[in-house]
């Protein structure tokens, strides 16, 4: 005991404590639930065994049963479409805006800051706003599309199975674009200006400078933003709750929303946990890409 106290007092062991406290925190609040979740995916869990830790072990039964369900593959496909669509949209528009504000016209940094408004808004509020915009009868989006001649009749974004998933993707792109833009702006401003001058002297036009200087210099930033985008889109829950509720008929349902639905609406905790475990594997992969791309930063 005396040794422990003195080890803290003289600084030795203090480093261990600095590592230990956050580690204990992470283990208690992230590690344990994760392990518990994995454990549940191999158990038979119902309302009556919810309170106990030791429950009947069923092996991979939950996984097998899950993939026997007819809605599983459509929902996983939806998840893929949602993730790819959201990331592609957020990245393309975010990069476009970042390049636009990079030209630093008067007021550029101020305007860029304003764009963050969309990102600080709670998902449920964003969902409510987009419910109005997407509304089939009086929505602004339908009005714009109709007036510009792109569609003839109204699209019922939220209740048409062909569009319901896209309704959420559009809202999610709007929500995540500014975050992409800010991170990409930081990446752009880190590129030394004299590289562009050197490239210009070397005969490169604007397009060639973009492909040979900007994009390769942005590689680590782009890798990070796409990995973060994958993590954030797989976490997106509020927009589904607010806009489509996964419907109609699971046409806009995705894995993360389904996991919650199975666990807390249908009280099938085993299968809910099983989906979570499958998603965890994907997020782990994204995290790996993120860590790798931030480690391989290219700086002169």
């Amino acid at each position: 005991m005396r040794r422990m106290i003195s080890s803290v007092r003289d600084g030795r062991g203090f480093d261990l404590m600095l590592v230990g406290v956050p580690f204990a925190f992470l283990f208690a609040l992230a590690g344990l639930p994760l392990i518990y979740n994995i454990l549940m995916s191999f158990q038979e869990v119902d309302m009556f065994s919810l309170g106990s830790f030791i429950r009947p072990f069923v092996g991979f039964d939950n996984y097998a049963a899950l993939f026997r369900q007819p809605e599983t593959w459509p929902i996983l496909t939806n998840t893929l479409v949602f993730v790819v669509g959201s990331i592609a949209g957020q990245f393309a528009i975010g990069f476009g805006l970042a390049l636009f504000f990079w030209t630093s016209f008067p007021g550029a940094s101020w305007l860029r800051g304003l764009f963050l408004v969309s990102w600080v808004m709670p998902g449920l509020v964003v969902g409510a706003i987009w419910n109005w915009i997407l509304s089939g009868d009086f929505g602004v989006l339908n009005f714009l599309l109709r007036e510009s001649g792109l569609i003839d009749g109204n699209i019922f974004w939220r209740s048409d199975p062909n569009f319901s998933l896209w309704a959420v993707i559009i809202a999610n792109i709007w929500l995540g674009t500014s975050f992409n833009m800010i991170l990409l702006s930081v990446g752009l401003s880190a590129i030394p200006g004299d590289l562009y001058e050197a490239a210009e002297m070397d005969g490169a036009n604007a397009w060639q400078r973009f492909w040979t200087i900007t994009l390769p210099m942005m590689r680590s930033t782009i890798g990070a933003i796409i990995a973060l985008g994958l993590i954030f889109t797989l976490q997106q829950f509020d927009l589904f709750a607010a806009i489509t509720d996964g419907g109609p008929n699971n046409s806009s349902n995705v894995a993360q929303y389904w996991a919650w639905d199975l666990s807390f609406r249908q009280y099938d905790f085993g299968r809910g946990a099983t989906i979570s475990v499958i998603m965890t594997v994907f997020v782990m992969f994204a995290a790996l890409v993120y860590v790798r791309s931030t480690r391989h930063e290219v700086r002169g």
Binding site: E200, M201, A204, T212, V298
Partner: protein
């Protein structure tokens, strides 16, 4: 003689700030021109205007017979070596060298051959597959040079390329750049704040201050006949001594404004009754034997580097004397200084312009 670069009446404004004022400059093909001056004098702005990285507000810029005022940098066919080197960090040395060729659409094998040839000249052959971050400062400098050389441009523009190197390497690279210039028969414009660099490397030195060309000419011309006090003080190290003085009513003698009787009989005449600044370089002052004409000054400090001795006087203004070898005097003693009158530079006290004595 063909003029490779010609500027006439070039002006540059940043808003209300007048950065370049009526610059006239002709650069012959094959010439090595140094733009030199203190920071903020406009030398870098002038170089960047040549490159096209800055636009000029007025006047004409002609490169190889073509008016270039509004031609973008990539179509001017000039190569620039940046102070920061501006190497592409995500490319190997070879890719850095061949960048301009690849942009032009030259075939890979051909570009590689060109890179190998240039690398052989600049001693980079073993480093072609390294990245810039794996190179030393001197090696990066060579890559920056090679990237310029590979293009065979109409002219090379150097923007203080040696200022990030240590002193010994700087002296070495000075010779190397000049040798390369001669070997390639290139036309070079070289910006530096170091007058020694300008004097030793250039055929033609342009001294600038506050956006104005104060004087231009061959290096020794500037040293021997500086047009005004600024150039006189800027060229040469240690700097020229300036002593306020006044000419007599007949203009045949000069009274130096130092303690004691310091009248100097002139061999040639100057305008009578004029307030002047007399300039004399430290290396042109010598100790006089007693009885010889000269002036007596108390010694404040003596510094010896072995080969040279620097003597500083306790006068106002302070006078510096550079002597070869060593001296036996000590601080506090009085010495008699003299000089050859042909080494005397005379400037008007007000306009600071050079005054030539008449016979």
């Amino acid at each position: 003689m063909t003029q490779q670069i010609e500027l006439s009446g070039v002006n540059k404004y940043y808003g209300a700030y007048h950065a370049l004022k009526n610059i006239d400059l002709s650069i012959r093909k094959g010439m090595f021109v140094a733009l030199v001056g203190p920071s903020g004098c406009g030398k870098s702005t002038l170089l960047r205007s040549l490159a096209g990285l800055e636009s000029i507000s007025g006047g004409d810029l002609v490169i190889a017979g073509q008016r270039m005022n509004d031609v973008p940098p990539r179509k001017r066919d000039l190569a620039m070596v940046f102070q920061s080197y501006a190497l592409y960090p995500h490319m190997t040395v070879e890719q850095n060298l061949t960048y301009s060729l690849r942009i032009k659409g030259i075939k890979k094998a051909e570009a590689r051959k060109a890179a190998e040839e240039v690398a052989a000249i600049t001693g980079l052959s073993d480093l072609l597959h390294r990245y810039p971050r794996e190179l030393s400062g001197g090696q990066r400098q060579r890559v920056a040079m090679s990237r310029a050389i590979i293009r065979h441009p109409k002219a090379f523009l150097f923007d203080e390329p040696l200022s990030n190197l240590d002193a010994a390497l700087r002296v070495h690279m000075r010779k190397e750049i000049r040798a390369l210039h001669d070997r390639l028969g290139a036309t070079s414009v070289y910006v530096t704040h170091d007058q020694v660099e300008a004097m030793t490397m250039a055929d033609h030195v342009v001294v600038m201050r506050s956006g104005v060309i104060e004087q231009q000419g061959r290096p020794l011309e500037l040293y021997d006949r500086p047009a005004n006090r600024f150039v006189a003080g800027f060229i040469g190290s240690p700097a020229m001594n300036f002593i306020p003085a006044r000419t007599s009513s007949d203009g045949r003698s000069l009274v130096l404004d130092l303690a004691g009787s310091n009248a100097v009989e002139l061999e040639r005449s100057l305008p009578p009754e004029r307030e002047l600044l007399v300039g004399i370089r430290p290396e042109h002052l010598v100790f006089a034997t007693p009885g010889m004409p000269g002036f007596d000054v108390p010694v404040a400090a003596i510094e010896s580097t072995g080969a040279m001795t620097y003597v500083t006087t306790a006068t106002a203004p302070e006078i510096v004397v550079v002597l070869n070898g060593r001296v036996t005097i000590a601080a506090g003693e009085t010495v008699r200084l003299t000089f050859d009158q042909s080494n005397l530079h005379v400037f008007d006290a007000k306009t600071e312009q050079r005054i030539e004595p008449s016979a």
